[in-house]
Structures are given as C-alpha cells and as structure tokens.
Amino acid sequence: MDGLDLLKKHWQNDQRFPQINKDEIQLMLHKKSSSLLKWIFIISLIELFIGVCLHLKVYFYDSPVETKPFALEIFSNVVDALLYLVTIYFIYCFFTAYRKIKNTTNTKVLLSSILRTRKTVNDYIKFNVYVIIYALSVEGISRFLNTDMHDWNLAQSFLYLVFLAAVSFLFGWGLIYIMKKYYRFLYVRLVNKLDRNYEELERLEETN
C-alpha cells in the first residue's frame, strides 16, 4: 500500500476524539477570541488613537509664541487641514477594510483582506512619521527665522543653522529607527504567519 493511501485509510477511519458535550460547546461560544485578527484590530486601534491624539495635541497646545512669517503661517494652516482630512481618510479606510474581513471567504481572500487592513494602519503610521519629520523641519526653520541674529556674524548664523538641522536630523533618524524596531517586533508576532501563507498562495499563481 502506498504511503499516502495508508495515511488516508487511517485518517478516514479515525473517529476517536475526546468528545466535547453540548454544555462545553455552549460555554465555548461565550469565550473571547484570541485570534490574530483580534490582536491586529486592538493594536491598530491603539495606533490610530495615538495618531489622532498627536494631531489634537499639536492643534490645541502647540501654538508657538514666535510668529511665523505670513507665507509659512498660511502653509502651516493648509497642511494642518490636510492632516485632519488624511487622518479621517485613513480611519475610514481601516474600518471599511476591517468590515470586509469574512472568515467564510476563501483562504486567499481572507488573508489578503486582513493584510490590507493592517497595511492601512502601517501606512498611517508611516504618514505620521513623515508628518513629525515635517513638523521638526518647520519648527527648525521657524526658530532660525525668529532668532535675533543682529550681533551674529555669518559663521555664527551658519553654525546655529547646522545645529538646528543636526538636532532635527537626529530626532527624525531616532524616530525612524525606533519605529523600524517596533514594526519588526510587531511584524514577527502579528503578521508574519499571514504574510508567509499569503505569499505561498500568491507565488503558486505567479509561477504557474
């Protein structure tokens, strides 16, 4: 008998499993899921919430004492308005994508819809990192333009500019580094398995 035939014979005759009775099943129905999707949802909500809090904080508390040049002020207001629109757009996309996840669809569609939902949040976080880097640059430029440099010579002004640029760069670089570490950590725990399984199905379609 061929190996797999033997396995099939055993498999099909195998009905001896510890049986779960109706009461136990009933109890199980009311337990909480610990699925990857649930964790992805919770973590995504936390990340979206942090993103929104960050924008609100900037809006309510971060009104610099220094006055920005008029053009920069207008530009900042336009960017602020766009930030809110983009945030609303990301939240809309996240919930729309989340609602499309159905465990009754085929495996490939299910995997792809979970990954798409998570990607929306990843994109939102990336967007926020860019926003923070942008805010740092604007802050640096504002400080430079608002600093009283009457008594400074060109070299001092240049050094001050280099200092501001270096601080902004280091802060931005540190932020990107932390975010990359965070995502590597999160990726392995949450999405790695889904990604691997999706890639396997996708690769099959590509190579044949």
Binding site: M1, G3, L4, L6, L7, K8, H10, W11, Q12, N13, D14, Q15, R16, F17, Q19, I20, N21, K22, I25, Q26, M28, L29, K31, K32, S33, S34, S35, L36, L37, W39, K102, N103, T104, T105, N106, T107, K108, V109, L110, L111, I114, K193, L194, R196, N197, E200, L201, L204, E205, N208
Partner: protein, 169 residues
C-alpha cells in the same frame, strides 16, 4: 429565529460534526493544550459567522472551510518550534490491532512528515485525505484548479522526500 434557538441549533450541529474540527486541530497542533486552544478558537469563529450560514452548503462543508481558515489565518499558535516538540504518539489514534508493526511505524512517520509541512500544504493534505475534488480545493483556498493540482503533486512529492530523508522508504 430567536437567539436561544439559534444557539441551540448551532450547538446541536457542532456536537454532531465536531470531528471535523478535531481532525483539523490534529493537523495544525502538536499537543492537547494547543488542540483545545485551536478547537476553542474555531468554535468562536464558526459561531460568529453562523447567523450568515444560509444552509445552501452542507454544515460540514461550511464548517471545515471556516476551520481551515481559522487554522491558516487566525490562529496565533504557540511559539514553540516544531522540531523541539516531542509530540505524544497516542495523539495519533493508531489502533494497534488494525495495523502491523511496519504499517504503524510508517503511519507515525507519515504524520510526522505532514506536521513539518507549511500551513497551506497541510490544508491540501487535509482535503486530499477527505477526498475533496480539485474544484473544491480551488474554491476553498482561492487558487485555480490547475494550480491546486500542481500544488497537490508537490505536497505529495515533499512528503515522499521527507520520508526518504528519514530512511523510511
């Protein structure tokens, strides 16, 4: 249908069809604690989508698809590496009086080989063992029928290679 009646109906159906879940848990887990864990998660996922189960498909067909989806896409699993897990062979349910020593050994190695496969390959093995046709495999996994056939041949080859590597055949 009121909530209690729906719940009762679901519990009845699930109790009758629970071996489908047990079999999938047997493929995707390595010990009884994980088996129970996955079983529990599948029950939750089935119950969650049961109100939309319209009865066009057989409950068993619908249940095995949701169960496979749960094992492949939703179950978090244990962090333990497969190679470090010494699984309990009594878990395999091999009734000794039905198989001779050589067959028994071969069965243990076959299950061992299946456990080393990827999640997707295990799904194919499950459907092969359950005698599902390629149209159904294609529909369940979301790949074309031709690719389901190709993939199935690769899985069989992979199992054979694993057995050769172990010196079983």
């Amino acid at each position: 249908m009121n909530a209690n009646k729906l719940e009762q109906e679901f519990v009845d159906l699930l109790e009758r069809n629970q071996n489908i879940l047990h079999k999938i848990c047997k493929l995707y887990t390595y010990d009884s604690a994980s088996h129970q864990d996955l079983f529990q998660e599948i029950v939750i996922q089935l119950w969650k989508s049961y109100p939309k189960f319209n009865g066009d498909a057989k409950f068993s067909t619908w249940a095995y698809r949701v169960s496979l989806n749960t094992a492949i896409s939703l179950y978090r699993g244990k962090k333990t590496k497969i190679s470090t897990v010494e699984w309990d062979q009594s878990f395999l349910n091999i009734r000794y009086e039905e198989y001779n020593a050589a067959e028994e050994e071969q069965l243990i190695h076959l299950y061992d080989a299946v456990r080393l496969l990827s999640d997707v390959d295990k799904a194919l093995v499950y459907m092969y063992l359950e005698d599902k046709d390629y149209a159904e495999i294609s529909e369940t996994l979301g790949i074309s029928e031709g690719n389901a056939r190709v993939k199935m041949n690769r899985v069989k080859k992979k199992i054979k290679e694993l057995l050769i590597k172990k010196g079983v055949i």
